[in-house]
């Protein structure tokens, strides 16, 4: 389950518009990599290119290579559906399926894989995923209630449970705490710490302290200029990035002098 990602010379386009240019990055297994940078710098776009979710937007395409355990995600004959089953995603706003119960939400991805789960197996999957997402104690007596009956923080943990129930290798998180209060945020951050023992985690965040708290390595993205594409400015161990970054732009951003 130890999956690393190597990206080389990745350009991301929306139609003819170059959104992100020339990204080279290596994302190690069983660690948390944080993407920081000002709004519109392409970090979310780049994150979504890691499981081909950006293709859900019309006209989006990439050039370059994304190697997951040596296999190119954009290689010939690779089905984006299979890619997304291996590389799960948690979104900015909690998005449990409103028409499904809590248990059905957790099982949603499993059912997709065409699996016929027996009742007992399904119950086990639900319990295990909810336990790992730190939600079990709060919802175990109301698994048949709608997912939308939970609080925002609980909904987000439900979405994490739903993502890990399919047992992906990698978990991408796109500002998972930006719609949550500080207490829910800290619960999710603790969860990320626990999950990194099993998963490769990539998280986009606008919260500098969060990046510092949860990540092992940090990547700073920035626009090359107004109207120019976003690019990866600097990548390094989180401690070094926050204490002593190489690039003056990184230092300025982290210290809050711009962006």
């Amino acid at each position: 389950m130890a999956t690393s990602i190597d990206v080389s010379d990745l350009n991301i386009y929306y139609d003819d518009f170059l959104a992100v240019e020339g990204v080279n990055i290596s994302i190690p297994a069983r660690a948390v990599t944080a993407f920081i940078g000002p709004s519109g710098c392409g970090k979310s776009t780049f994150l979504r290119s890691l499981n081909r979710m950006h293709e859900a937007i019309r006209g989006a395409r990439v050039e370059g290579k994304v190697l997951v355990d040596g296999e190119d995600l954009y290689g010939r004959g690779i089905d984006p559906v299979d890619v997304r089953r291996r590389i799960g995603m948690v979104f900015q706003r909690p998005n449990p399926f409103p028409t499904m119960s809590i248990a059905q939400n957790v099982l949603a991805g499993r059912r997709l894989n065409g699996e016929r789960l027996k009742k007992a197996e399904a119950d086990a999957v639900v319990e295990q995923a909810l336990r790992r997402a730190g939600l079990w104690a709060e919802v175990k007596d109301r698994l048949d209630r709608p997912g939308s009956s939970l609080s925002g923080g609980q909904q987000q943990r439900l979405c994490i449970a739903r993502a890990i129930a399919v047992e992906p290798d990698v978990l991408l998180m796109d500002e998972p705490c930006s719609a949550l209060d500080p207490i829910s945020t800290s619960v999710i951050e603790d969860l990320i710490h626990e999950l990194k023992a099993e998963y490769t985690i990539v998280i986009v965040t606008h919260n500098m302290q969060q990046a510092a708290r949860v990540s092992d390595q940090t990547a700073f993205f920035n626009l090359a200029g107004v109207g120019r594409p976003g690019r990866l400015v600097e990548l390094g161990p989180t401690e070094k990035m926050f204490a002593n970054p190489d690039d003056p732009a990184t230092e300025a951003y982290i210290q809050g002098r711009f962006g």
Partner: protein, 312 residues
């Protein structure tokens, strides 16, 4: 809303709010009183016919015996029409909203909307002149191969002017409104839910069944009910196409077919007088009640799933 204390002054009322409130209240009152007026008219004019004895009216039957085949025919034709139209409109709407490239989707949408503007007389003429004769061989085939089913027991109509033909015409007539509503609802599926499904590794079809259709369920029911309302009340097309003989039969392809309330009123009204008019208006009251009951049932169906509807 807020609890008023004695020190609080009266809320300021802006003239714009007052005008708006007035206009919307009047609109609401007008629509409700129109509906009440229709109900009162139907009851007042219909009751003498409904209570008349068998020998007082031309049909020579009591009202209940007279109306029962018509009620059956009305519901039967509408249900068949809906059974044909629902899957087709959901399919077309999904094609427009989620499958077709935008360049193709828009013209198809326009064409569908255009279908709604065709008058029912035109559909009726087409039903008689083209559809019934071209579909007739199918009825012969159905009788020969599926004749063991009561629906296709035959003998197959020689003209093709059967209740199934009428239902097909009705289905085509209700298709545009149903498709248009479904399309709008499908387009409103939150992007978040679609992405949630895709990110779990859903194919496009799985995404539709997981995120789009469940979210749209109550809207689909509403669309179907609107379509059912139109199918129940449609007059001209049925009156023109159907060769009716006032029986109760589930046979879809024979030449003896139940009529519908609306078509029967249209066909019988010119020759009716006195108590017979009253009988026809009585059947209109029954149709009114059926439509009302169908709508109540639909609301109940939607409300039962409220918690899981995505509206909260």
């Amino acid at each position: 809303m807020s609890t008023t204390t004695e020190t609080e002054t009266r809320a300021v009322v802006r003239p714009g709010d007052r005008v708006f409130r007035g206009i919307s209240s009047i609109s609401a009152i007008v629509i409700v009183s129109t509906l009440a007026g229709v109900a009162i008219f139907l009851t007042a004019e219909g009751v003498p016919g409904m209570t008349a004895s068998a020998d007082q009216v031309k049909s020579g039957e009591t009202f209940l015996r007279y109306v029962t085949p018509l009620v059956f025919g009305t519901l039967w034709a509408a249900v068949i029409a809906l059974a044909i139209a629902t899957p087709v409109s959901i399919g077309v709407a999904l094609f427009i909203s989620h499958v077709a490239p935008r360049r193709l989707a828009q013209p198809i949408g326009y064409v569908i909307d255009l279908l709604a503007a065709v008058p029912s007389v035109v559909y009726g003429s087409w039903g008689i002149l083209t559809l019934s004769s071209s579909i007739q061989p199918l009825y012969v085939w159905l009788e020969r191969n599926l004749g063991f089913l009561p629906f296709f027991a035959g003998p197959a109509s020689a003209t093709g002017r059967t209740i199934l033909t009428a239902a097909v015409v009705l289905a085509i007539m209700v298709l545009p409104i149903m498709t248009a509503i479904c399309r709008e609802i499908f387009l409103q599926t939150p992007r978040l839910h679609e992405e949630a499904a895709l990110a779990l590794g859903a194919t496009r079809w799985e995404m539709i069944t997981m995120a789009v259709l469940p979210y749209a369920r109550s809207g689909i029911v509403s669309a179907a009910m609107l379509a059912l309302g139109r199918a129940l009340g449609e007059t001209m097309a049925v009156a023109m196409v159907l060769s009716a003989s006032g029986v109760i039969s589930v046979n879809l392809i024979s030449s003896t077919n139940p009529s519908t309330i609306a078509a029967n009123i249209a066909l019988s009204f010119p020759e009716a007088s006195g108590l017979d008019v009253s009988v026809l208006i009585g059947t209109g009251l029954v149709l009114f009640a059926i439509t009302f009951a169908v709508n109540v049932a639909a609301r109940a169906l939607v409300a039962r799933h409220r918690e899981f509807s995505g509206a909260n």
